[in-house]
């Protein structure tokens, strides 16, 4: 109990509350601008948090993540352009509603569904994490290595359009993770004589380069001609501008279902909010009494998509906090932020800093409250922000990228690292290589390498150790089964697409 009070004391500081509120606001604004994602919002905020205490900075980042998740739905509904990839399913019914003059109703349902699903997911995280962390504490190096391999396999295989390219991106991340001092013997590796690389490639400049600068180059390719997109007028009927009690009642069951789907999928590494939103939308359509209304402006469609993608937010912190394995890209960025603050998520964090864990849980719930508060007020401003010309947004982003990369260590070398990874990120995206596996593999590399080599030391170089330990064996078998199903479903999916193209 005293840990909960200690956590509450850490959380209740005005700076934490203010930072969380500010993070949610910034995330909502950035998520509402098409082209800027929640991940980019976090990447640009991290340099500012470097100078803050761990709880303040984590509160701000978690807030930005949650704000970004909801913010993406605003342009999806108003402009037919999802602000973030996760909001793509929201377009299906949100935009038809806006065309009918019901944009405010759709936006309000989006915020209600987002906050409810997010809170459900957070509560599951709070209940499940501590016992899971206790189990995780019993895991040794072979189990840890197998678990990381399993997670990386899922993340690399489901990310992007090609499995091989996803795997290549992941292995590139592992090689980049090798740069710097060897984790066991501390000998220099792949530094090419640059002492700045002794501690490895700096995460923040790499992150900003891969996700923000590459986006800048992609948008630089196309000359932006028209500044503003068309917005539909809101209806004069007050019932079209609010969610009625009847609509809320009919959507509650769907929000509940989508929350469960999002939470379950979110806890599995690699399954991001986009997939969860589509699965939830599909299931909502299946159980609906009027499935034919889906796609024509059904409010339940907006509720399902938004609840589905926001329920992932809390759940993907389960593998992050209990095992130190990020479930998706945003969790990977959060992991980086934790490490910058000197905290290493995983079972030991529960043992050594349980007060910080409780403070994080509290800031997660507080961020939901802020999300509701800001979301309901931001609706009035949203149309103006979502329509800011890209010709102003992207040049400003580059300036922030440069100062953000420099500010962390006040080292010009980091700005060059950012630029290098910006170009690499652009080339990878040009050739359809997903960036998420690269970043996640890079972050997990030290943990994987250390546990892999420690296992080999324990077994005098025999790989059999991974099969001799029951948990490790079970995880590896799971990996093989997963691999089989992914390959099978991928082949089926390709045949389906090919037939679709052939006959349409």
């Amino acid at each position: 109990m005293e840990h909960i009070f200690a956590g509450f004391y850490l959380f209740i500081q005005p700076s934490v509350l203010l930072a969380t509120f500010f993070g949610v606001f910034l995330g909502t604004v950035m998520g509402s601008i098409p082209g800027l994602t929640a991940t980019m919002a976090i990447a640009l905020i991290i340099p500012m948090t470097f100078y803050l205490s761990p709880i303040v900075s984590i509160g701000m980042l978690v807030g930005a993540y949650k704000g970004g998740c909801y913010g993406g739905s605003i342009p999806a509904i108003l402009l037919n352009t999802p602000g973030t990839p996760a909001a793509a399913a929201t377009v299906l019914d949100g935009y038809p509603m806006a065309r009918k003059g019901k944009a405010l109703k759709a936006l309000k349902m989006a915020i209600y569904a987002s906050v409810m699903a997010d809170s459900f997911s957070d509560i599951v995280l709070i209940l499940i994490s501590p016992p899971l962390a206790l189990i995780a504490l019993k895991m040794g190096p072979p189990e840890m290595a197998s678990l990381i391999i399993f997670s990386l396999l899922i993340i690399t295989l489901v990310a992007g359009k090609s499995m091989i390219k996803g795997l290549i991106a992941g292995v590139i991340g592992l090689i980049i993770g090798n740069v710097g001092l060897d984790p066991i013997l501390a000998s220099r590796r792949l530094t090419f004589g640059m002492y700045e690389l002794d501690e490895g490639v700096a995460l923040i400049p790499m992150l900003i380069g891969l996700f923000a600068v590459s986006e800048f180059f992609i948008h630089a390719a196309k000359k932006i001609t028209s500044g503003k997109l068309k917005l539909y007028e809101n209806s004069q009927n007050p019932d079209d501008n609010r969610v009625t009690a009847l609509e809320m009642k009919s959507s509650l069951k769907i929000i509940g279902l989508a929350s469960v789907i999002g939470t379950v999928l979110g806890a599995i590494p690699g399954i991001g909010p986009s997939i969860s939103a589509y699965v939830s939308y599909g299931q909502a359509k299946r159980i609906s009494k009027n499935p034919e209304r889906f796609g024509e402006g059904a409010i339940e469609g907006v509720a399902a998509a938004e609840a589905g993608n926001n329920a992932v937010a809390g759940a993907n912190l389960i593998p992050l906090l209990t095992l130190g394995i990020p479930g998706d890209l945003t969790a990977a960025v959060l992991l980086g932020a934790f490490m910058i603050q000197g905290l290493h998520p995983g079972p030991l964090l529960f043992k050594e800093h349980i007060d910080i864990i409780y403070a994080i849980f509290m800031s997660l719930l507080f961020a939901n409250f802020c999300n509701f508060l800001i979301g309901t007020q931001y609706i009035k401003l949203a149309s103006k922000v979502a329509n800011i010309p890209k010709s102003i947004i992207f040049p400003s982003i580059l300036v922030f990228c440069v100062v953000g990369s420099f500010a962390t260590n006040q080292n010009p070398f980091d700005v060059w690292v950012m630029m290098f990874f910006g170009i690499i990120g652009f080339v990878m995206r040009r050739y359809d290589f997903p960036l998420a596996p690269l970043l996640i593999a890079f972050i997990l590399e030290p943990m994987l390498e250390t546990s892999f080599r420690q296992s080999l030391l324990m077994s005098a170089g025999s790989m059999k150790i991974f099969l001799d330990h029951p948990i490790s064996f079970f995880i590896l078998i799971m990996s093989v089964i997963f691999l089989f199903f992914i390959i099978k479903s991928n082949v089926k999916h390709k045949i389906k697409i090919f037939n679709f193209k052939k006959y349409n």
Binding site: I164, L174, F217, K223, I224, F406, I423, L456
Partner: protein, 160 residues
Amino acid sequence: MIKRNINKDDFIPGLVIFFLGIIFILFVIPNQIPKNSGPIALSPRLFCQIATLLIIILSLLLIMKSLSPKKHGIYLSETKLDISEKIRVIISILCAIGYVICLPIFGYFVSTIIFLLFFLLFFGAKKWLPIISTIMIITIFLYLVFVKALQVVLPSGILF
């Protein structure tokens, strides 16, 4: 005779990664990572060698996939560029590099004002009022947040 369509979006990166992998395993790893005479698990080269071997195998698979007589074009890159777009990307990359080079010469704020103005025009901003107000707002915001609040010492050059 079956006409083989090479999928260049797979073939070119596959080939580049394959050769980089070979260079890495033959030259870079032996030169950049010290050898260890003890047990294999202690070798600093071990993990890098495994990863590089994996990447060589995967790049070969990518090359084979690009050469297979299956129908291509199912997945088209969202960032496929025509020649004018390629030129715009090259210009933007060169100018972004120029911006980084100018930082220690002209100082952060002077370089930022010059390059922000250039990129605003490059991205298609036409009206001077939003251009000037964007430059002013961004510069003042960065000064207040990073210099005043976070106490970051930004590069100063010959001008400021």
